[in-house]
Assembly symmetry: C2
Homo-oligomer: 218 residues x 2
């Protein structure tokens, strides 16, 4: 079982959105916040390309680096409000206890992902981050790398994510995608991106593991 991190296991999407918005404003770019929300979870490179397209501005490498720094600073001010999402720690503990291999695959940097493992109580989780692959979501690289770390073909993995980018990447990896509403996308958007099933949150998925082929008895 492969998990996205932000918006899926931890409740951090809105803080990232507001932080990107502040970063862009201080850089002189006024992009409506909902458009930033809809881009969260895709690779940083694609994010900046989409930005450039939507704002009709050129954003070179130096500008992208400045934006990333401004975003990190704004996020730091909001970091105290980031919590695990309902059911995350419980499901991960259950999978470990019943011998189901699992990993976390995030478009974020390892530096930002590691504190989240502490929040979730899984400091030794198998983790694949942006730094380790050539291309992030919606490319399949992150999920393919995570499946490889588990010695499992991606075709036999379930991918759980909150954004259309997770579900698109899951399809390209050949995995079955499960959506959760905790990132603030609508159910319909996730289904249209190819979700096999959509649950409210990880707690809701945990209650319905039999629907996705994982028996509660292990």
């Amino acid at each position: 079982m492969l998990f996205d991190l932000d918006g899926t296991l931890i409740d951090s999407v809105y803080q990232h959105v507001v932080a990107w918005h502040e970063a862009l404003l201080s850089y002189g770019v006024n992009l409506p916040v909902w458009r930033i929300h809809r881009r969260i979870g895709m690779s940083g490179g694609l994010f900046v390309a989409a930005l450039a397209r939507e704002t009709e501005r050129e954003i070179d490498e130096a500008a992208a680096a400045t934006l990333a720094r401004l975003h990190s600073e704004a996020l730091e001010r909001l970091r105290d409000s980031i919590r695990p999402l309902p059911g995350s720690s419980e499901l991960l503990a259950h999978l470990s206890a019943t011998g189901v291999p699992w990993a976390i695959a995030t478009s974020g940097q390892r530096l930002n992902a590691e504190p989240a493992l502490g929040l979730l109580g899984v400091p030794d989780a198998v983790l694949v981050t942006r730094d380790e692959v050539r291309r992030a979501k919606p490319d399949p690289d992150l999920f393919l790398a995570a499946a490889a770390k588990l010695n499992t073909p991606a075709e036999r993995c379930l991918v759980v994510g909150d954004s259309v980018w997770d579900l698109l990447a899951a399809r390209r990896a050949g995995s079955l995608g499960l959506g959760v509403l905790t990132g603030g996308y609508g159910r319909d958007e996730l289904e249209r991106a190819g979700a096999y099933r959509v649950y409210e949150d990880i707690a809701d998925l945990f209650e319905h593991l039999d629907e996705v082929g994982l028996r509660q008895s292990g």
Copy 2:
């Protein structure tokens, strides 16, 4: 034409969401942020009732007042990042120039709404706020009061809003509801709540006024 304010004319929904989340956390309530997002725009009383139900806690009048204060304080720190949404000022100016009566009807307080009129360049707009009606959205009172101020039957009004609460209130008022995606709801959620048409933002609606019966020529 009747307009919701936050998330429809001004880009303030995500700041409100994050501010409510901070207020709730400092009150000891950890409600996932997406659930707060889905409640924004409904009346404060219903918001608190929904909160109490979802968190299984009692929230009395004093607690509700404390939460409202904590929310205002958190919002204050984010207020600098609030901007008008694309097309808002242009459409309102066009309606005024072509003699189409319009008003703004918001579940927020007058105190919070008035600075937004300045942002939009319409300090003298017809405005109905939470303080003036018995019940806020999804009850129809705000839109009925706004229609009355325009001396127009609500049945002949178009209501523009970003949340399902706007569209539900529009239907109860007998008005035709138009949705915009700028509050971060999905298209499908707005259509299911009864939107006659859904546009990306006010700029997109402005380009398609003929679809809703308003000719560009006035």
